[in-house]
Symmetry: C2
Subunit: 201 residues, 2 copies
């Protein structure tokens, strides 16, 4: 079915996991409260005992993970001794985070644009902007320090890296026979830093 849902002692958390799977699979607008209710084994109206609105469910699903990301990136910057290692560590954090939170990442990537105009979800676009500004700063510092190739457009190269780490949640499957997570991480690092860093990595 969804392949996303998990168990937990808490009924509210169960419902959230079910909803996250359906939102990721079918999109937020194309998932009805009736569908969520049916999957959770109750009437749609009963969901309103746990959540005030459908928007509240989405908020509860995405907010915590997303808003903790800027801090995680800043911690990497602060704790990485060699500047050459910062960007690869960013890529690895993004990939492993996406793999661990596939439903949330898929929802964010898919709904980001349609939620951008809604006040209540403005934090999504703002947080993505914050994250991308952190990445851009690292890329530009890397170019200034001669660590990153100066002959490519920094913004385009950055967009490509973000595309790569952003789309992984949409095709990566844990337990795939074709590749392990470590293999995906290694290939993406090879791919990106075989071409971007000065003099190989």
């Amino acid at each position: 079915m969804t392949a996303y849902a998990a168990d937990s002692g808490n009924r509210r958390e169960d419902i959230l996991a079910i909803a996250a799977g359906l939102f990721a699979e079918n999109g937020f607008d194309n998932t009805s409260m009736r569908q969520i209710g049916a999957t959770a084994g109750m009437q749609a109206a009963s969901l309103y005992h746990y959540f005030r609105t459908k928007d509240d469910m989405l908020d509860a699903i995405v907010r915590d993970y997303l808003t903790e990301l800027p801090g995680a990136y800043r911690r990497i910057m602060a704790e990485t001794a060699n500047p050459r290692d910062v960007l690869p560590a960013f890529v690895e954090l993004a990939l492993r985070g996406a793999a661990r939170n596939r439903a949330v990442m898929t929802i964010l990537v898919h709904e980001r644009k349609s939620l951008a105009g809604r006040d209540r979800f403005a934090f999504i676009e703002e947080t993505f902007d914050e994250i991308e500004a952190i990445w851009l700063g690292v890329v530009e510092a890397g170019i200034a320090q001669g660590i990153i190739r100066a002959d490519l457009n920094a913004r385009v190269a950055l967009r490509m890296m973000l595309d790569l780490v952003g789309s992984v949640a949409q095709w990566y499957r844990p337990n795939s026979r074709r590749y392990t997570l470590d293999e995906v991480v290694k290939t993406e690092l090879d791919f990106i830093f075989g071409g971007v860093m000065v003099g190989g990595r």
Copy 2:
């Protein structure tokens, strides 16, 4: 507004261009016939003079461009003398095609999954499968011939290349002051083939 719509002598084509822009911007399911009608300057009911159903509009928008792609890739394979040049030519075709048909590509990338289960749009998934099989064949042949690095997972590397060329339609804007199309193509080629090909390009 949509930034996608174009003019044409034909009213039907005008409506299609408007619908394509709205589908790309808001998603197929989240675009109503009333919205399309209002943007085209008529009542929703009047659209049914030109199209039998909303699905017919989507079909007319995406079918021609998509179904011509496999032939275009095969032509490149047949006409490229040096095997080393095939994959870069694929990337360039994908990028320039996406840039020239941004709305269509955006729709295809976004709706691909949700349309996969519908008979009438099965050709979309089938055509993508066909295209990806062509790419995979080239990657595997390149590895066998020692042109492409054998130390990375071919399927993961392929997925990354397809992610890159597939997502460009979603952020590339003609007339951007930050980068020209040629600059995007060059950066993507540098990026991919600086790291993937044996001994540089």
